[in-house]
């Protein structure tokens, strides 16, 4: 492919810019990772730079070896998968409906959803509803149901559906397709990149959920991974530096920074591992040609 001089210069500048961006991100991250596996003494005397000093995986071992860890991991995976699948389904359905030019009651329904983005009752009423009236304490549904509808994503998906060429949809109608078929067979494949992106955000949100656990779970079996990290790791090893009350930290010799960093890494790892699969959908041109009627 012949490139003009202008194009070549552009590519080089681009490369520099990208390298710079990569550097300002990677350097601090390497610092974090190094701390998480460094020797405890090196950490507290602040000798750890970008590369680890000493080698100490005690924090990781401690976290992973914990009995609750596996159960929390299972819970997180279960909830994340279900929420992502169901939420994408519901979101796409609503977005498609709202993207229609007209249907009876469209304005009302649009306001119905959008108002909830701006007004909410707050913590106490929601808590009372879910905990007291629906009796969903210690129930997976308390984690799943409230998370299914997110109007922000509905708006985003809707805007992408609106951008689909009308000709495509008309062709389907002419062929005798009903609404459901149009949605799933025509629209869905075209907006797949956006759906993949939204799906990833939803999965992330669900994976990071801990507040619902604080509110609605009183049994350890219902903990999610994030809550486990927060309740066990952070509380145990960070707040033991509380002043005032004598604390006996026992035989733990692992400095809090090890845990903090290890916790971050363990949280991010699954999503970072899965993202390459999601990126498949982002490669330009994968759907080129399918749009032509």
């Amino acid at each position: 492919m012949k490139k003009s001089l202008g194009e070549k210069t552009f590519q080089i500048i681009n490369l520099f810019a990208m390298t710079f961006i990569a550097a300002i991100i990677l350097l601090p991250l390497m610092h974090i990772f190094s701390i998480s596996i460094s020797d405890s003494i090196a950490i507290s005397t602040m000798k750890v730079g970008i590369f680890p000093k000493g080698f100490n995986t005690a924090a990781y071992k401690k976290i992973i070896g914990d009995a609750i860890f596996l159960r929390a991991l299972f819970n997180s995976v279960l909830v994340t998968v279900i929420v992502t699948a169901l939420s994408l389904l519901v979101t796409t359905m609503i977005s498609y409906a709202l993207s229609k030019e007209y249907f009876y009651g469209k304005k009302f329904v649009t306001y119905y959803f959008i108002i909830t983005m701006y007004f909410s009752g707050g913590l106490i009423p929601t808590y009372l509803l879910i905990s007291r009236y629906l009796k969903l304490n210690n129930n997976y549904l308390a984690y799943i149901l409230p998370a299914l509808v997110n109007v922000f994503y509905i708006i985003v998906v809707r805007s992408q559906i609106e951008a689909v060429p009308k000709s495509l949809v008309e062709a389907a109608y002419i062929d005798g397709a009903g609404e459901y078929q149009v949605l799933f067979k025509i629209i869905f494949p075209v907006i797949l990149p956006t759906v993949a992106a939204i799906g990833m955000f939803i999965a992330l949100g669900s994976w990071n959920m801990w507040y619902s656990v604080l509110l609605y779970a009183s049994k350890r079996e219902m903990w999610t991974l994030q809550y486990f990290l927060r309740a066990v790791v952070f509380e145990k090893f960070l707040s033991s530096y509380a002043d005032g009350v004598m604390t006996i930290v026992g035989a733990e010799n692992i400095p809090p920074q090890n845990f903090q960093m290890a916790a971050i890494i363990l949280v991010a790892l699954p999503i970072v591992a899965i993202y390459p699969f999601v990126q498949k959908y982002f490669v330009k041109g994968i759907l080129a040609g399918s749009v032509k009627g």
Partner: protein, 538 residues
């Protein structure tokens, strides 16, 4: 196509239903309700045990992950003593105590026994709305509980409507506000005893800085709680930004005549590099890192907290450290009132124990609380079990350190006794010093220095009247404004300390501040006479 969609949706619904069933189920309260109603028909010859649920705080004391609050040797002992069964224990993580507590109260699904640290103000307010059982008669009629408090302390338990809604932990007699000294550094500089005047301390700091230019003789932190070394010595307590009791009245500390002297001292310390000038942005981690690594001679800590730090130095390879409490330097000036320098006699800490008014087992709850306050619990939580965590050698109790460390969670149950009792202090000091890197003689000397100085500090602290401010509870709205006022004051104080405000500018800002928040000063003064009576001041 439609059929496929319907199939898909049906599958999802079925899956959700299955999930619902798979969840951990309802709260045990439902189970216990059924059990209790058949209690009378129980076939055992014993009385049916009351099933209790408790809400409990761990106050940052760590416990193993497999730990069960309804089933361990201490709670088993308590259950036996009270003839109850703890069926559920809600133990929120420390960071979320307030949230969990409030949610529990709002949900109506309240535990029988509630131990919390949200503070007496909140607890009494809830009590007044009927949330908790009124305890006056219960305390009077209970053999264990009636012995806990002197008549004066009994009065202290009362809310402003005269009723008692919560028990407090025993008075804390083994702890006091203090500051920590690296005695080993002093000895290195040639000192054989601690300085006792402000000039003396400054001189020591200067010597340290001269010898180690990289050191930070005095450090602090953004919240300013850690600057008491100077502020308190000048009689400006309230950490330099709050309201204080002075010459019989309530004032804001800016109005204290010694305040500017304190500011001048800080300025000088910062200019000479004796005090770390980065302190306004230092957070916990920075503060602790500096304490460890930068040869800090003096920094703030209460004695109880200091003990925990004893073994941190050897663990982080900082050798031969002697970390002991110091006494506030004496400054000769009539304008300084001792009551503002020292903390005063033992007080209650923030822990409260209440019984829910919706409890179906109130008598059982009372018995359980009595068990919590019993000597047996004190022994188990402080020392452990005889022959296991401690042994009796020559009539004296000696800890078996390894075993005692294994069950260090026992301290959690020490909450009725206020944790930081003198007895506990002696014990843990020994424990921690034992794990330092000094030789045997060094360890003994260290222990002696620590205990001596701790006792002196405690003695000084208890030598003044009780501070009446401890008995003033502000109106809710004023209390909320107080936080904001303190933030503003803190900004002004810090700016003056680092030199961003000249002393004249400080005067102007302080005057404007005092005027703006005069209503808080007024409210304090309004409530002061009654507080003085409660504090026993004439």
């Amino acid at each position: 196509m439609k059929r496929k969609v319907i199939l898909l949706i049906t599958l999802m619904l079925v899956f959700l239903l299955v999930l619902n069933a798979c969840s951990s189920g309802n709260t045990p309260k439902d189970n216990s309700k059924d059990a209790v109603s058949t209690g009378a028909d129980a076939d055992t010859s014993n009385q049916p045990k009351d099933k209790l649920r408790i809400f409990q705080i761990t106050a940052s004391i760590t416990y193993p992950d497999s730990f069960d609050f309804t089933d361990n040797f201490i709670v088993d002992e308590l259950e036996e003593m009270a003839n109850v069964e703890i069926v559920e224990a809600i133990v929120p993580p420390d960071t979320d105590v307030k949230t969990k507590f409030n949610l529990m109260m709002a949900s109506g699904d309240i535990c029988d026994v509630i131990h919390t640290t949200v503070g007496p103000a909140d607890v009494y307010a809830l009590g007044k709305t009927g949330a908790f059982v009124e305890l006056t008669d219960i305390i009077k009629e209970s053999p264990t509980l009636s012995k806990l408090y002197t008549p004066a302390q009994f009065e202290l338990l009362k809310a402003d409507d005269g009723k008692i809604y919560a028990l407090r932990a025993m008075l804390v007699d083994g702890d006091a506000s203090s500051f920590a000294v690296r005695y080993d550094l002093l000895e290195e500089l040639g000192y054989t005893s601690m300085p006792d005047t402000m000039e003396g301390w400054i001189g020591a700091m200067r010597k340290l800085k001269a010898k180690y230019p990289d050191s930070l003789p005095y450090i602090s932190r953004e919240e300013l709680h850690w600057t008491s070394f100077v502020f308190k010595s000048y009689g400006c307590e309230a950490n330099g930004f709050g309201w204080q009791y002075y010459k019989g009245k309530a004032i804001h500390t800016f109005e204290n005549p010694m305040y500017k002297e304190a500011l001048k001292t800080y300025r000088m310390m910062i200019d000479e590099g004796l005090m770390d000038k980065e302190f306004p942005t230092d957070k916990v981690q920075d503060f602790q890192d500096k304490r460890l690594n930068r040869k800090v001679l003096v920094n703030q800590q209460n004695i109880g907290g200091m003990v925990d730090w004893i073994d941190r130095y050897p663990k982080n390879n900082i050798p031969k450290v002697i970390f002991i409490p110091g006494q506030y330097p004496k400054i000769n000036d009539d304008r300084i009132e001792k009551i503002s320098v020292y903390g005063g006699p033992p007080t209650f800490n923030g822990h409260t124990i209440s019984i829910s008014s919706t409890s179906k087992h109130k008598e059982g709850a009372v018995r359980f609380i009595e068990a919590l306050y019993s000597d047996k619990n004190k022994e188990l939580s402080t020392w452990g079990r005889e022959g296991i965590e401690y042994s009796i050698v020559n009539g004296e109790k000696i800890l078996n350190l390894d075993k005692a460390n294994e069950t260090s969670w026992r301290m959690i149950y020490n909450f009725p006794f206020g944790y930081n009792t003198k007895e506990k202090l002696m014990l843990t000091v020994k424990q921690f010093i034992a794990s330092t890197d000094h030789d045997e003689a060094g360890k003994q000397r260290y222990e002696k220095l620590f205990i001596e100085n701790a006792e002196k500090t405690i003695e000084d602290s208890f030598s003044v009247d009780m501070n009446p401010f401890a008995f003033i509870i502000l109106d809710t709205d004023t209390g909320t404004r107080l936080t904001e006022a303190q933030n503003e004051a803190r900004t002004i104080a810090i700016k003056a300390m680092i030199g961003e405000l000249s002393l004249e500018e400080f005067d102007a800002e302080a005057a404007a501040f005092t005027k703006k928040y005069q209503f808080i000063t007024d409210e304090y003064n309004k409530k002061l006479p009654e507080a003085k009576i409660k504090a026993g001041i004439k």
